[in-house]
Symmetry: C2
Subunit: 291 residues, 2 copies
């Protein structure tokens, strides 16, 4: 929680409690750049000497300028490189714009729809988060301020890829993006060879939501695989994503290594080795999702 513990001793600190029994992360900050209470959530933007600009919803860190590329590249490029020719892509959530930025690196993309429930987040990102928000004005991008869970229901075989870049299920309206009905609606909204990816929470703390999301996606798609990536400013630095293919495309066997090798846009985290490695799961993670 932001306000209560912002000042500890001589330092101005932003503290994120993972839960009251655990503890959390704290960041030294120089400046509280922006604060707003929207209809959905509390929004804060800080400047930090190490992390750069930090964006937080309801006291939970969403992006820092320092490491957001790890999250956005893993969430976006794994599905984008699996689809043979992604032209129309839907992002649900992701109001900071980081997923849109990565999607637009793929030259095949003709239209990227961002469905973010909270307009205040998108406006704040456009003004205060240039590192993620700079492409939100791109002519290929369509911005819609709607409930993603309802929005996706109107489409049949419309999108090549859907990226679920949701907040935590416990924050704001995030919980609605973690239901079987929602994932089934996503499957309907995808074309026959459509690919979905979703952020499915951290492994280390409160992994109930992560396993729940993974299992529910499995109820909606014939081929579903969990993958992992480092994300230092998310709890435990160990983040999970879920890949799902409507046509059963395996993300290792059907992966085209050369397409990544020949990709022209600079990437800081994702590469062809990381793509394959991300699907290797530690024994305790396998057990968590098997149970």
């Amino acid at each position: 929680m932001v306000e209560k513990e912002l000042n500890i001793g001589r330092h101005m600190l932003y503290t994120e409690w993972y839960s009251r029994d655990v503890g959390g992360l704290f960041m030294k900050i120089n400046k509280h750049v922006y604060a707003a209470q929207s209809a959905y959530q509390r929004i804060d933007i800080f400047d930090s000497p190490f992390y750069g600009r930090v964006f937080s919803l309801d006291g939970i860190t969403m992006t820092t300028e320092r490491d957001e590329f790890m999250y956005h590249e893993m969430l976006v490029h794994v599905p984008m490189f699996m689809h043979p020719n992604p032209r129309k892509v839907l992002v649900i959530g992701g109001g900071d714009g980081g997923s849109i930025r990565e999607i637009l690196k793929h030259p095949s993309v003709e239209r990227a729809v961002l469905c973010e429930i909270d307009e205040t987040v998108v406006k704040a990102a456009m003004e205060h988060l240039p590192y993620t928000g700079s492409r939100l004005n791109d002519p290929k991008v369509e911005l819609l301020y709607e409930d993603g869970a309802k929005f996706v229901r109107q489409f049949k075989e419309e999108f090549d890829a859907i990226i679920i870049d949701s907040t935590d299920p416990t924050a704001g309206e995030g919980g609605q993006l973690f239901t079987v009905d929602f994932y089934k609606a996503c499957s309907e909204a995808l074309k026959e060879d459509g690919i979905l990816s979703a952020q499915t929470e951290g492994i280390m703390y409160d992994y109930e939501w992560g396993t729940t999301a993974y299992r529910r996606i499995k109820e909606a798609f014939p081929l579903v695989r969990l993958y992992l990536g480092f994300m230092p400013t998310y709890p435990g630095g160990m983040w999970s994503y879920t890949y799902a293919s409507k046509s059963g495309l395996d993300p290792i066997e059907s992966f085209d290594v050369d397409r990544v090798r020949n990709f022209k846009e600079p990437l800081r985290y994702y590469n062809e080795e990381i793509h394959k490695a991300a699907f290797a799961l530690p024994n305790f993670v396998k057990k968590l999702i098997e149970e």
Copy 2:
């Protein structure tokens, strides 16, 4: 730093500052179980509702009961499964006993030597850290309280594997275990087909020491590879290790998958897929170690 900021509001907290410009991690704790100032460092042991027992040197988290298995399994099993028949193994540092515990899971091991400069740490681990220290009394284990950098110089072709389980170079006497001379002495002390692994620090914060260690190990061994693993309670959750082979054995090409599959002891993190995946490096990490 432990004492100054142990109490914040109603909570008893242990806080680790990564650096004064960054911030760090804080853990809720119930009980300060043990505190000592040895000739080398400040030692603290806490109980935490989530992390279990926590062991800290000079205010830097060394092990928590919750996640130490990730670190110790990655540090130990990568080299142990690469050596065809590890019988005599040296651990430098590692006074908590976690590396010894993992080494003894390999039935080929006849002797495991622990060279830890600080006897106080080993005694504290034996008494207060049963989760890592329980095997320190094993008849196969030899405990030596000496400076590892000097100790290793007396051997020629003595060990099958050397595990460098050092504290941070900035803490206590850790810095001496990060020199080219030391790594060359390790190479001398290894048999012809000897394998070395070293913890080479986190990637996210202050990675100077990590890249320095990696480059210096490269000066001492013909085949050296960096690998990564999750480690939630270490800074950024993104930890690096360095694998080195005196005979040039490649950790992917010469890796025997079946030996891991047929291993009888339970492992919670490491498996044959993780072994290979750990050597896949994100683009920014490749760049850091190439520079």
